[in-house]
């Protein structure tokens, strides 16, 4: 990999025969101002026990802003599942999800594998965090509820 770093500047330099590469500069100028995030920042959630769990277990797919990956992983910002009933939301994490869904006009026909290695406490923490960070439901999810959903249907 070291060699690459030496090679690239050499190539760019020689391009000057035809002109100059202004990529670096142009890059700056197209930087668009991002629209304000959909979620209003509520209280500081950095101490929330669900925050590191989200980063470790959900963020890879649903991303830091909760907006997912177009066509692949759906947004979880203010969706009917995040704001919906506790049982369904818990079930998505402990049993997974496998159906075609539409979120904000975009279709997702992919599969979310269950996360059975998360404890009842961890599932309730991460979902309470998700609701506070990305949803508007104030309903709390308890470890006991997670236990019941886990033991029920599969």
């Amino acid at each position: 990999m070291k060699a690459n770093i030496i090679l690239i500047p050499a190539i760019l330099l020689l391009f000057s025969c035809a002109g100059k590469t202004e990529k670096g500069k142009e890059n700056e100028s197209v930087k668009v101002v991002k629209e304000p995030p959909v979620v209003e920042q509520q209280a500081d959630l950095s101490d929330h026990p669900g925050q590191p769990l989200y980063t470790q277990h959900c963020l890879p797919c649903h991303q830091a802003d909760g907006n997912g990956v177009p066509g692949m992983y759906p947004p979880i910002v203010e969706t009917k599942w995040v704001n919906g009933d506790n049982k369904t939301l818990i079930s998505i994490v402990v049993h997974g999800m496998d159906e075609e869904i539409e979120v904000n006009g975009e279709f997702y026909n992919t599969i979310m594998a269950p996360l059975p290695h998360l404890s009842d406490q961890q599932v309730s923490d991460v979902l309470n965090y998700v609701r506070r960070q990305f949803g508007s439901s104030t309903e709390k999810i308890t470890p006991e509820e997670v236990k019941i959903v886990r033991e029920n249907e599969s």
């Binding site: 190539i11 002109g19 668009v32 991002k34 963020l59 802003d65 907006n67 177009p70």
Partner: protein, 419 residues
């Protein structure tokens, strides 16, 4: 090697080739090397995947999802300015692969490769129903895209992605071991060969497994100058998520490499048992199969890539440049469209660009360099959903222009050299 690269670049910079097309003032938002320009052929076609251009300049784009019941769109420029004047949707299946071949339009739906006949090949739209060339291809809603390619000797190659990340007993589940042997390799995770013109073939009856150990590949191209098939693999995801004790988030963003593969009959590239670590320059054993990030084990017997790219940047198309419009430096080299990563989070995402790989014969020569950027309209992409456009498909036109299609909104650019 270094000196060789020098002389090529100098020559390229001074040569005089090009077209007289009028570019868009902002090159359609693209950032290109000096001397190159671009114009927007069409916009808002829907979620584009791949693209192909007919000898007469007609353009065909595959769509990831049906748009009002149509899975493809045809574009024609009637005024000669390079911009589409006629836009027509057609085709009852959606998918990825799309190519004109022997007077037919072949299309890779997720469970089959079909072809549409033309009444007159010069017509914009094909006529009538499709016929199935290769059917019974697995579609498990993960890595289901079915790009294909022809070798000019009557064969059609289809990439059949593995419906898995690392062939774990339980899909994408922490702590679940890798299946050994991985049963998915029987029908997926490789490239299968079919006859290009025999209707009604099925994978299990008629398909021949040409190469294996390829997790998922969307970029597939025959280079007829050297008579070889190439693909670029999407490497496995989630090393940190499943093995935080072995990989930190930075390593997990960088690893494993996206692998540029040169295929041979019978070649095995190692998935799911192995992945290529571009920092160590070798294939190592995957952690699901007992690897510790360093041990090579059975991976020594697997075939290495001809070039390795940073992790997760999603190579979604590949073309070899055999046109004469671009400067000599580009001749016989490869362009690769990187759709852009999601699995580098929480690190910033990468890709969302087109790169160029110089070639000498069958193998890359020297290093790759960025060719086109600006698709995302962001200087760094933190969340994939913020990217305004994502390059997904590439084609070269009859005059040597390079066409690009975007998967977000279906924008099509034509890139050309004006000197």
């Amino acid at each position: 090697m270094l000196l060789f690269t020098f002389s090529i670049v100098i020559f390229a910079g001074c040569s005089k080739q090009g077209t007289t097309l009028q570019p868009d003032p902002d090159n359609g938002g693209l950032l290109l090397p000096d001397g190159f320009s671009a114009l927007v052929v069409a916009e808002d076609l829907g979620p584009g995947r791949h693209i192909t251009v007919k000898e007469n300049g007609d353009i065909y784009v595959s769509l990831r999802r049906l748009q009002d019941g149509n899975g493809a769109v045809a574009l024609r420029d009637t005024s000669g300015d390079g911009r589409a004047d006629i836009t027509q949707y057609f085709g009852s299946v959606s998918g990825t692969g799309i190519e004109l071949h022997n007077g037919f339009l072949y299309y890779g739906a997720d469970s089959m490769v079909v072809r549409y006949p033309f009444e007159n090949y010069e017509d914009l739209l094909p006529a009538g129903n499709y016929e199935i060339i290769a059917g019974g291809l697995t579609d498990e809603r993960q890595h289901a895209a079915k790009p294909f390619e022809f070798d000019g000797q009557g064969n059609m190659y289809v990439t059949i992605g593995a419906p898995a990340n690392a062939c774990m007993e339980q899909m994408r589940t922490k702590g679940s071991p890798g299946m050994d042997p991985c049963p998915l390799l029987e029908y997926a995770g490789g490239i299968w060969r079919f006859r290009e013109d025999v209707v009604g073939q099925t994978q299990l009856e008629d398909g021949y497994r040409y190469s294996t150990g390829i997790r998922h590949a969307v970029a597939l191209r025959w280079n007829d100058k050297v008579g070889k098939l190439y693909t670029v693999q999407h490497g496995r995801d989630q090393l940190h998520q499943f093995f935080p004790e072995l990989y930190d988030t930075e390593q997990s963003a960088e690893l494993p490499a996206e692998e540029f593969l040169m295929l041979d009959d019978g070649a095995d590239f190692g998935w799911p048992y192995c992945y290529y670590d571009q920092l160590q320059g070798k294939k190592v054993l995957a952690p699901e199969y007992g690897g510790d990030g360093v041990e090579t084990g059975r991976c020594e017997a697997k075939t290495d890539p001809v070039m390795a790219f940073p992790g997760h940047i999603a190579p979604n198309d590949l073309v070899f440049y055999h046109g004469t419009q671009f400067p000599d430096k580009y001749h016989n080299g490869a362009f690769i469209a990187f759709h852009g990563s999601w699995n580098r989070a929480p690190e910033p995402q990468e890709g969302y660009n087109i790169i160029f790989v110089p070639f000498d014969g069958q193998l890359p020569l020297g290093n790759w360099e960025e060719f086109a950027d600006g698709f995302s309209q962001l200087s760094t992409v933190d969340n994939p959903g913020d990217a305004v456009h994502r390059p997904c498909g590439l084609a070269t036109g009859p005059d040597g222009s390079l066409y690009v299609v975007d998967s977000r909104k279906g924008k099509v650019w034509r890139i050309f050299y004006s000197g």
